[in-house]
């Protein structure tokens, strides 16, 4: 006997424990199965792109901190690179290396939080999250040493970085680099082959290779679908072409692969960090630009491999000291473009972990 029930409309968010902020999904469910879903953005819209038009170029740097607030170093970097490209500013060699170190530390933070909250969505009672948060705090301490801040670092400047590394930074960093591989092994031992983790995430929320490319998805989500696309390799910026590292890719494009890719990227980030620390040159860290800095008329787009995907800044200058237009290519937003297709047909519990495995940051989605 076939049972059928009317589909129920259920509102996931904007205030919901697993929407990672203020995201909202209007879901229609039939029993436990999702039949239709409509993402709603905009609850965290602060008009950052418009605000940037009213501020001088330098004043925009703190604004970019507030995009993806667990990855503000990367946002700084991408924005500064775009402005440098626009104005043709050279960056000293030491600053390039420092930028890479900061970006990779930031990537580790972001991936740790992404993995931790993914397991929270899966229903672990915060234990993996706390394990990862402890390591995240160690990196936050490191970044606090260089910038004085613990979340929104505001560290990069046009032509370099604001301060040189303080003396205790490098010893602390190398101690962290010594400890972290064992920590990652611990996560692997605890989680990698857990039967429930496999049952919950394998073959769940499969994003096919074609669909990932067509939806212009980037970052770990794209690589989990088997596409070897990493801007650090494909269009090397800073000094990534001088480092030896691999781009981990998945094969299935399911939630488990996304988690695996992030874990492997942690290891690759550590490799990059080790090489960057050993090659770190001496010298000045900034080629100062004037305070009222006016880039020439023109436009520039610069992109980096952000933590969540391709993070790009497009800047148009009219020759004044304020950007005429700034646009952010936010990976979190674009990674959500296939969300509806990924969620339909899965159970409510699956939808939560699929959404969690994309690892978005609402500050970046809504801007």
């Amino acid at each position: 006997m076939a049972h059928s029930t009317d589909s129920v409309f259920i509102n996931l968010g904007p205030v919901h424990p697993s929407t990672h902020g203020v995201f909202r999904m209007r879901a229609h469910i039939d029993g436990e199965v999702i039949t239709d879903i409509e993402p709603v953005f905009g609850y965290l819209h602060r008009g950052i792109e418009k605000l940037a038009e009213g501020k001088s170029y330098r004043q925009v740097i703190p604004l970019t901190d507030r995009l993806d607030y667990v990855a503000s170093m990367n946002n700084n970097l991408a924005y500064c690179m775009a402005v440098e490209k626009l104005a043709g500013i050279e960056v000293p060699e030491r600053a390039v290396y420092i930028r890479v170190i900061m970006a990779e530390l930031q990537r580790i933070i972001s991936h740790l939080l992404g993995i931790g909250s993914f397991f929270n969505d899966m229903g672990t009672f915060f234990t993996p999250f706390f394990y990862m948060f402890i390591q995240k705090e160690k990196i936050t301490d490191l970044l606090e040493m260089v910038s004085g801040q613990r979340l929104l670092f505001n560290y990069m400047r046009f032509g370099g970085v604001s301060h040189d590394l303080p003396d205790p930074f490098l010893p602390a960093l190398s101690q962290f680099l010594r400890e972290m591989p064992a920590e990652i092994d611990k996560y692997e031992r605890l989680l990698k082959e857990n039967e429930i983790v496999l049952a919950r995430s394998r073959n769940v929320g499969v994003l096919s290779r074609e669909m990932a490319i067509n939806s212009s998805i980037s970052g770990p989500v794209l690589r989990a679908s088997g596409v070897n696309w990493d801007i650090r390799k494909a269009d090397p910026y800073s000094c990534y072409d001088r480092f030896d590292f691999d781009v981990p890719t998945g094969s299935n494009g399911d939630c488990y692969d996304r988690y695996r890719v992030r874990i492997e990227e942690l290891r690759q980030s550590l490799r990059i960090l080790e090489q960057a620390v050993s090659k770190l040159p001496k010298g000045k860290v900034i080629n100062p630009v004037p305070l009222r800095f006016k880039p020439p008329v023109g436009e520039a787009y610069s992109h980096i491999e952000g933590n969540k995907g391709e993070l790009g800044f497009y800047i148009v200058s009219d020759g004044s000291d304020k950007p005429y237009r700034m646009h952010v290519r936010a990976p979190s937003l674009l990674n959500l473009s296939a969300l509806r297709e990924m969620l339909i047909g899965w159970k409510l519990a699956d939808a939560i972990i699929i959404f969690g495995s994309i690892d978005i940051c609402l500050g970046e989605v809504d801007r």
Binding site: T35, G123, F130, N194, G345, A349
Partner: protein
């Protein structure tokens, strides 16, 4: 049917109001111990989970933070009591009561020392099973009456999950009943010269897992499912009513720890220490394992939970009955170590056999 035992019958009949005295002492004692231990166990769980998560847990209110739960109780009792405007007010009010009372009643048949229990029912174990089902009715009523989609989904999960796990839970006890030859819990404890966990490892395994599902603890905490259903069936509850549901959950956890201790770990029996202390120690041990599991494992999906009950636990429970039954029927004088080893072999063999091709939730759901 109920034979009340506290004093030997001869003394009881001589004392004035002997029956009522017994009733009063035990009823008040059970409720007082249960409610106090809930407060202590909540604190205990938080401290323990804190250790598992590399943090300290509550440590500010009182020594070792033991007054934290007291503070929480005061806070929760002084909160505003909200009833949603479209809720079914009577059922909304009734649900916590339906959920809570049977849990307390279940303790009436558990012996705390030799022959010391409120009511020595001949059908003790059936009574417990019957009562434990009523709690899920209360939870379902609460979820339904709240007029909230999350709590409705949660209560649907309650019904399906609890009904499914009741069956392996009951069947796992049949082995114990056959070895004892009685349904009374007092007799069961007396029969455990060797704790039944050694004679019935399979029964213990099934009973423990099924009771985790019965009290909806991790990895079967689907009806609360923080990350999906926010809080589940009690989402609209606040104040005293919420406290009652919360109390129910912990009381259930304690009662099922008590039952595990009584049925499989030898109950109050133990050398040197007084019986009640032994019982409490065993309860704490079982409860700690429940907390350990909660701090460790992710949550299963609803279809995987159901599949696990019907495809894995139920056949195992039936095999266990067959094995134990054939011992009791055909070879009653078999040494107990042989029963235990045969049972253990069954458990390990079954797990190895099924783990090759049994994958929880191997079926994915296509779009309908």
């Amino acid at each position: 049917m109920a034979e009340l035992i506290l004093f030997p019958a001869s003394i009881r009949s001589e004392l004035p109001f002997g029956f009522w005295l017994h009733l009063a002492i035990f009823a008040i004692g059970i409720i007082a111990i249960l409610l106090t231990s809930v407060i202590i166990f909540i604190w205990f769980e938080r401290r323990l989970v804190g250790r598992f998560q590399l943090r300290k847990g509550p440590n500010r209110a009182g020594p070792f933070g033991i007054l934290q739960s007291v503070a929480d109780v005061i806070k929760i009792l002084t909160k505003e009591d909200i009833i949603p405007s479209r809720a079914d007010k009577f059922l909304f009010w009734l649900a916590p009561v339906i959920a809570f009372s049977p849990v307390v009643v279940m303790l009436a048949v558990v012996p705390v020392a030799g022959g010391a229990l409120l009511a020595d029912l001949d059908i003790g174990i059936l009574f417990i099973i019957a009562m434990s089902s009523i709690t899920s009715l209360g939870i379902f009523t609460g979820g339904w009456a709240s007029y909230n989609k999350y709590s409705l989904l949660s209560s649907m999960r309650v019904v399906s999950q609890l009904v499914s796990y009741e069956i392996p839970l009951i069947l796992s006890l049949v082995g114990v009943v056959m070895l004892t030859g009685s349904l009374s819990l007092d007799e069961m404890v007396n029969a455990q010269n060797v704790p039944f966990i050694l004679l019935q490892p399979t029964g213990f395994f099934i009973f423990f897992i099924a009771s985790l599902a019965e009290i909806s603890r991790s990895p079967f905490d689907l009806l609360e499912a923080d990350s999906e259903l926010v809080a589940g069936y009690n989402i609209e509850y606040s104040g005293m009513k919420f406290a009652t549901f919360y109390l129910t959950e912990y009381c259930e956890a304690i009662v099922l720890s008590t039952l595990t201790a009584t049925l499989f770990l030898g109950g109050w029996q133990g050398p040197w220490l007084p019986p009640l202390v032994w019982l409490l120690l065993k309860i704490t041990l079982v409860f700690s394992i429940i907390v350990w599991i909660r701090a460790t494992l992710p949550r299963l999906r609803i279809d995987q939970v159901m599949g696990f009950a019907w495809k894995f636990l139920l056949p195992l429970a039936v095999l266990n009955i067959l094995l134990t039954g054939s011992f009791v029927a055909f070879w009653p004088e078999a040494p107990s170590w042989m029963i235990g080893i045969a049972n253990l072999v069954l458990l390990i063999g079954y797990i190895l056999f099924r783990s090759r091709f049994f994958k929880p939730g191997g079926v994915t759901v296509g779009a309908s």
